[in-house]
Symmetry: C2
Subunit: 152 residues, 2 copies
């Protein structure tokens, strides 16, 4: 089944600038981090109207990950004291397709540049899509999570 | 800048089954639609723990889109009465990288099969990632949207 799938290749539409070559410690520092997303200037017009949204969804390629092994079971937050879980039950960056998906606050649009807060991408990450965040579509107001994910 | 980006190609991790070859009318019927996501059976173990979450984020490839032109400015909901907006300010499927991102309710996991509600993907769509929905990370509780998007 999966082997018959079409070829799927991505084009970068922009790049992240924030000077970060490694994740901050603690990871919660991402939340206040400001980044600039520089969109390919040939696509500037495609941003028109985005400035009306308080938040955007950024899809990006986690380009700094070492290539190679993607264990199917991993430990939450890489913590050796925690039991193994399937990678699709985790937000680990080590996934078959290293795509990050972050809801970020849009602070400013200036031409082809988006200044955002809370984007947990490293400097130089290729951006592959920008979508407006729609609360009624993207949020699940009655969502629940398992107890094992809460204890960090 | 963008031309120097690394080659980014995706692997399908699964496929959507729901019998839908075109979007439902009205589009709001997606919300109650049930689909099965059949994950590549070599990846079954990577789902372990997902059953504890009420919602998942599904990234998928919108494979039925006609290839070709991607206008930078498009009309919200394809409605000719509405003014043009940049495609990155819209959720139009016609984008440089045709990746859909949906928050779906997880009804059941059965081995390598996820039964979900509210996935707005057509039958046969390649699935490229499954992530657990984390309310504190994925939702923006103070999000606002522009007035032009509300009037549909």
């Amino acid at each position: 089944m999966v082997d018959e799938m079409p070829e799927m290749s991505l084009k970068a539409i922009g790049v992240v600038h924030n000077g970060l070559s490694t994740p901050p410690t603690p990871r919660s520092d991402w939340e206040k981090m400001t980044s600039e997303i520089v969109i390919d200037s040939r696509l500037t017009e495609a941003l028109d109207g985005i400035e009306g949204f308080s938040h955007i969804i950024v899809l990006f390629w986690m380009h700094r990950l070492p290539k190679g092994d993607t264990p199917l079971m991993q430990r939450p937050m890489g913590n050796p004291a925690r039991p193994l879980k399937g990678l699709f039950a985790l937000r680990t960056p080590n996934r078959p397709n290293p795509i990050g998906k972050t809801t970020a606050r849009l602070l400013e649009r200036r031409g082809n540049i988006l200044r955002v807060e809370g984007l947990d991408a490293l400097d130089g990450s290729p951006v592959i899509d920008i979508k407006p965040y729609l609360p009624g579509y993207d949020a699940a107001i009655d969502a629940t999570v398992p107890a094992w994910i809460i204890h960090d």
